[in-house]
Symmetry: C2
Subunit: 331 residues, 2 copies
Amino acid sequence: MTKRSRAGRLRIHVENDPHHAEVYHITPALFARRVRRSPGLAGRIAITYGQNLLDAPLAESEVVVVSNVDGTGLAERAPRLRWVQATSAGVEKLAPTLPDSLLLTNASGVHGPKAGEYAMTALLMLNHRVPHYVTAQRAGRWDQAFATPIAGKTVLILGVGAIGSAAARLARGFGLRILGVSRSGKANPLVDRMYKPAALRRALPQADFVLVTLPLTAETRGLVGRTELDLLPRHAGIVNLGRGPVIDNDALADKLRRGELSGAVLDVFPEEPLPASSPLWTVPNLIISPHCAADDSTSYAERALDIFVGNLERYLAGRRLVNVVDKTLGY
Amino acid sequence: MTKRSRAGRLRIHVENDPHHAEVYHITPALFARRVRRSPGLAGRIAITYGQNLLDAPLAESEVVVVSNVDGTGLAERAPRLRWVQATSAGVEKLAPTLPDSLLLTNASGVHGPKAGEYAMTALLMLNHRVPHYVTAQRAGRWDQAFATPIAGKTVLILGVGAIGSAAARLARGFGLRILGVSRSGKANPLVDRMYKPAALRRALPQADFVLVTLPLTAETRGLVGRTELDLLPRHAGIVNLGRGPVIDNDALADKLRRGELSGAVLDVFPEEPLPASSPLWTVPNLIISPHCAADDSTSYAERALDIFVGNLERYLAGRRLVNVVDKTLGY
């Protein structure tokens, strides 16, 4: 794994999408600061930066660092390319466009403590009827709705990865019972009971809250559809911090309008930014946060860079990388 | 303290305000169930119920249980009255209308775990820019605002009583630094540093969040005015779960409109219900909850009754009551 470019340095190309908020940008200054903490990299890497893959100096690049963009043509334009590091956890746009021969790693874990904290915030908001209050406020209406403490209630976490685990840890502190769904369904010390996806319909009726942190894959698209939402108790609420298309938002909106669920907090949408014309903006008991729940304004890029630099050291040492994406599974 | 009515039983009159939500009502069924757990009371009390003090059978009553209403004329109409138990924690309407000779106790502590949990919810909402999101949502606007985790930030709690302490306990779990203000300013194991009210202006500039849980008294009315709000950092947010007139809401609204504070969550207002004509409904970055933050939909009346029955046993035994209100201080 340590084949070097002609000048003896590993050629790395870093892309920063100009349409992305600056909190995501891996700038030359940030990279230089980070590399100083890894003296083993000195003199072994050569980095170029760009804002648009089409114009990038890719002919010599062996490594590309890029956000979750469409990577069509990348392999052709970068004949020496062997490894693509995504700066995002989700890679549903990037992964299907890369050839099988390319190594793809993601930034799972980048969201760190913030995403779990926002998940807990959203669960508390649902428990304390905040979606009801802000809906009544939009109408200038004083409409009391009382709640009970969250302790003893049940949260069902779909996707117990980095964010789901951080949320589970906080939820335990509030005395919640925790159910989880993962592809393997294997036991998790943070979760009272794990289910496989095939058993989702047995788990849903037990949930006071559902927390979705799933990536978007062929298996998760539309996983929470009308039938699944119908299995939730009427008082239940749902949070989506994963990817928009995992939930059937039309079905969710219908149920919220009919009062068949108590509330929802959505941070992700099939189309982002959510268009001004979307009917979701005014659905009762639905709170929209604009895909910022998981990302930390001061440390996102640093955390993504930490994941990349750790992998870079492994790559140069010929060791196995972390966060390798299974392109068939899509995460 | 154990003078008995003619029939040898202590005459107690319980008022339930029909304009109050049912979660507050101490019904005959509830009382009967509670008394069964205190066999010492059997045969020693006689209870009447009413919905309007003016029509109540008060001539024989030695004890009145009532919410935070205007008690003008009560003492005259109940010549044997010695003790008034309020079913609320705040007694700003009731206390000034009772003669000094009457013993008044309140239901401080009735809010139990729920109020602290809602306080923590509100602090997390402020930290995670939820007021910003719901304001943008009202305009159908996708407007990202990123945050950092709450750990290491500072909350200033005004009034470290039952609710303030419950909030402090949860806030410690999230790694918050906790400052407090109380009348005595005396040390509190849950609080990193306590201040007296006179030092409020030194505490405010340190606060990322202010949590108000104060009762309404002559000292607390208008305590958080324009000058005090101006001492907060621009990124700070404020929560009021105490009593509306503690904060100058006109000044608060001005600052929120000018973006000089990041958000507010208000559960209490000078006039409740908040009138439909109030300008507060549409103030940016302000979330309104309709005075339900502290009250538990399943256990409020039971908790209030627990406090009363505990005092009743003390009263019959000639012991000192808990939650005795200092009518001069107003709480």
